[in-house]
Symmetry: C2
Subunit: 316 residues, 2 copies
């Protein structure tokens, strides 16, 4: 029943910069703390999935600094299959510079680097893809090359165009968005939320500390290596509570949620349990700075799961 | 007549980030270009001096990434003496994040990293020090431990306190500032410019593209290994023109000017020629992005010198 999920999108270095104040033009401010972390949506999801014991292949363009920064070693040690990584000479990893002031305001600058080449890449044929934000044209091609499509439009959604987004949505089986993105998906694609509900098997909308909402009719069906969602005529709305944690840094919570969901999904858990496992997984990642710093293995995740949800959920 | 100059201050990694726009709080912007360069005032001056054939020793705290970033190899290849470098375990190099928008506005964030330990360091006894900005308390101690003191208060001047600055100025033989810093030096120290002129043998004030002004009475005197400035009762003001170049990036021009000046100074050139050699050296560095990217050797510098100034200047 183990199914390999190919995860596409960014592999980035995150520069987390804490400052006295976010300054205006032609001003400067001292940095009080400065850390570099492994990041990028696709790599974050892959790392969390691998640590949970999921079978995951990263499909992402990287630059020379993938090796020199020891990012390659980090993912390889976690068990992520790197055979789908495109290694670009004379390119650099994408980078995010996140500047946070004392009041936790943030300014973010993002550099695409090697990920800027995604648009030109030919997507591999895969059984199951999870597409984490990034280029809409690549994702449109990718969504056609995969048998089962999970999609997280994420922060690059602001760059999406109507036609490729429509193509992606028509091929999407699982859609993950936050409360803001779901509106933007409708605005850009021209599809109402009701139309999206009809087109897409499962939609999960996250609401930060207010938890998440699962819209689904069918349930997970696993037959041998095949995994799909049962047919349904109408979607049911199921609220899933957030698992509160000692949050130090919310970055990466969304990626961890999807990673937990997807590993549970490939194990054949009911969709609401997949969401809860996602919520539990996310609660670990927010406890430390960095998106790949505090990753639970499956056992550690289940130990926290049973503190918040019925233990019987986990018996398949 | 070759005298080793110890150069103290920052050894940094510069992250040069070009963006569509410098954003306000809780906004983000894409990065159009992103480069990492070797920087930090002390290391910049050392690199330029070494390339010009000067004898230079870097005295600066560095972190683990001094080696992993290949900064060590870069300086060592140039011929900089690294025996004075303090290697701090569990620390990182200082870092500058310079964000530049399409209209060339800049926001700068500076992380002290290992350089934050300067204040605790015991300065070595040296013949000739060039102190490039950084911590005022360390520089006050350093100025007492050196026989000959050259001082560039630079961007950290905003953090300087009256008493250590007074100590530094009392021990300074050569003072380099720009038009803004000379006012700030007076404001913080309480010494008028006239008092500074009486206290300090040579003051050089730079005015960007309008050139620089040398205030000096005596001249360079070299006797064996000893080098000093001749006594004088009154300072003469000598304007030095800027050497215009195809400027791509002005960062590092000031450090290059001082490096050119200092190498010429140790060779015993008259002070006005030292300034001109500084101006010629700076004209190379601004032609490429990065403070240590486009460094002339002595011969290359002299070839450009004679296009702007009398060749006879260079005959000692």
């Amino acid at each position: 029943m183990v199914k390999t999920i190919s995860v596409t999108g960014h592999t980035s270095l995150d520069y987390l910069i804490w400052v006295d104040k976010i300054v205006d033009k032609n001003q400067s401010s001292p940095i009080t703390r400065c850390e570099t972390h492994f990041g990028g949506g696709a790599a974050n999801v892959s790392a969390v999935m691998a640590k949970l014991g999921g079978s995951v292949r990263l499909v992402s363009p990287v630059g020379d600094d993938f090796v020199s920064s020891e990012y390659e070693k980090h993912l390889s040690d976690l068990g992520v299959d790197l055979s789908g990584v495109w290694r670009m000479g004379n390119e650099h990893l994408s980078k995010a510079f996140v500047i946070t002031d004392r009041l936790l305001n943030q300014s973010t600058y993002f550099y695409w680097g090697a990920a800027g080449k995604l648009r030109e890449m030919e997507p591999p044929k895969v059984d199951f893809v999870h597409m984490v934000t990034a280029d809409c044209f690549f994702n449109a091609k990718m969504s056609k090359a995969a048998e089962f499509v999970s999609f997280d439009p994420g922060q690059d959604l602001v760059t999406y165009q109507k036609e490729p987004l429509q193509t992606i949505l028509k091929n999407t089986n699982l859609l993950f968005t936050n409360r803001h993105e779901i509106k933007m998906v409708s605005d850009i694609s021209g599809y109402s939320f009701e139309e999206l509900l009809k087109m897409i098997d499962v939609i999960v909308v996250t609401y930060d500390k207010e938890g998440s909402v699962l819209y689904s009719g069918g349930n997970v069906i696993c037959v041998g290596d095949d995994i799909r969602i049962g047919d349904c005529t109408e979607k049911i709305k199921t609220p899933i509570p957030c698992v509160l944690a000692e949050s130090v840094d919310p970055t990466g919570a969304g990626d961890a949620y999807k990673a937990g969901f997807l590993v549970a999904f490939t194990k054949g858990y009911p969709l609401d349990v997949c969401c809860k496992i996602g919520a539990v997984t996310a609660s670990f990642v927010v406890e430390k700075v960095g998106c790949q710093t505090n990753l639970p293995d499956w056992k550690t995740m289940t130990e926290r799961y049973v503190l918040h949800f019925p233990a019987s959920d986990l018996n398949l």
